[in-house]
Amino acid sequence: MDIQTQQTGKATVVAISGKIDAMTAPTLESSISALIKEGCVCMVLDFGGVDYISSAGLRVILASAKSLKSKAGTLLLANVSGPVKEVFDISGFGSVFTIYDSVDAAVAAG
């Protein structure tokens, strides 16, 4: 798993690539926590490069969303497709999160 962070206006775009599994999820969790601690309130997770996500990854997303919400912030998801989309769908994440077709669309909505 690889994580790239970039500030676009008020949004922090976190581009993730590779596999988000029980081994790598803790790394994602601490990267996101650090950003929230630094004051980020509008975060866009870009899943364009992610080819695998297990429940350990979903747990990180859910925890991050809750954490941001408690600070009146927001978590936006972009570029969810293929197997990652299937995992989101069967987990009911489709109804919990709005998923944007592109990072730009997510940033504009944020």
Binding site: S55, P83, S91
Partner: protein
């Protein structure tokens, strides 16, 4: 049809997950599991494996054993992944499905593991044998078939 059986037995630790996944994927590929089912197998197996690492050996260490089996009764046309631990009796499949319709606030963090196992296999079952938990994940080899699910 001959039964083909490969077994991997390793310490139940999270850092063994990649090796366990590679073993299961190699076995499934050799058995002829369709590529599009591979990621589902990985997801189901990761959930079972991680549960064992996290919950089966409270305060101690233990082993987890994976067996890739093909050509065996009662699933001769299926790929069977058996996941065995020596922890206390526990049937993961007895856990109720999570409510996936809840909003962020109400959602439990976790509880999705069993759901993935049910969703991404054609059939899954559990038994207790010789002081061990044996979880079987079963994938049909026939393109459109759902033979295992029917049993």
């Amino acid at each position: 049809m001959d039964t083909v059986r490969s077994i991997l037995n390793l310490p139940a630790t999270l850092d063994n997950l990649p090796h366990a996944l590679a073993f299961a994927e190699n076995g499934a590929e050799a058995a002829g599991v369709m590529p599009k089912k591979m990621i589902g197998l990985a997801l189901a197996m990761e959930e079972a494996f991680v549960n064992i690492c996290t919950h089966a050996y409270k305060g101690g260490s233990g082993q987890v054993e994976l067996a890739c089996v093909t050509g065996s009764d009662p699933f001769p046309r299926s790929f069977v992944l058996e996941i065995t631990d020596s922890g206390p009796e526990f049937d993961l499949l007895s856990i109720p499905e999570p409510d996936t319709s809840l909003g962020i606030e109400e959602r439990e963090i976790g509880g999705l593991g069993v759901h993935f196992i049910r969703h991404f296999t054609d059939h899954a079952d559990w038994r207790r044998e010789n002081g061990k938990n044996i979880l079987r994940l079963i994938l049909n080899l026939d393109a459109g078939g759902s033979q295992a699910k029917a049993t």
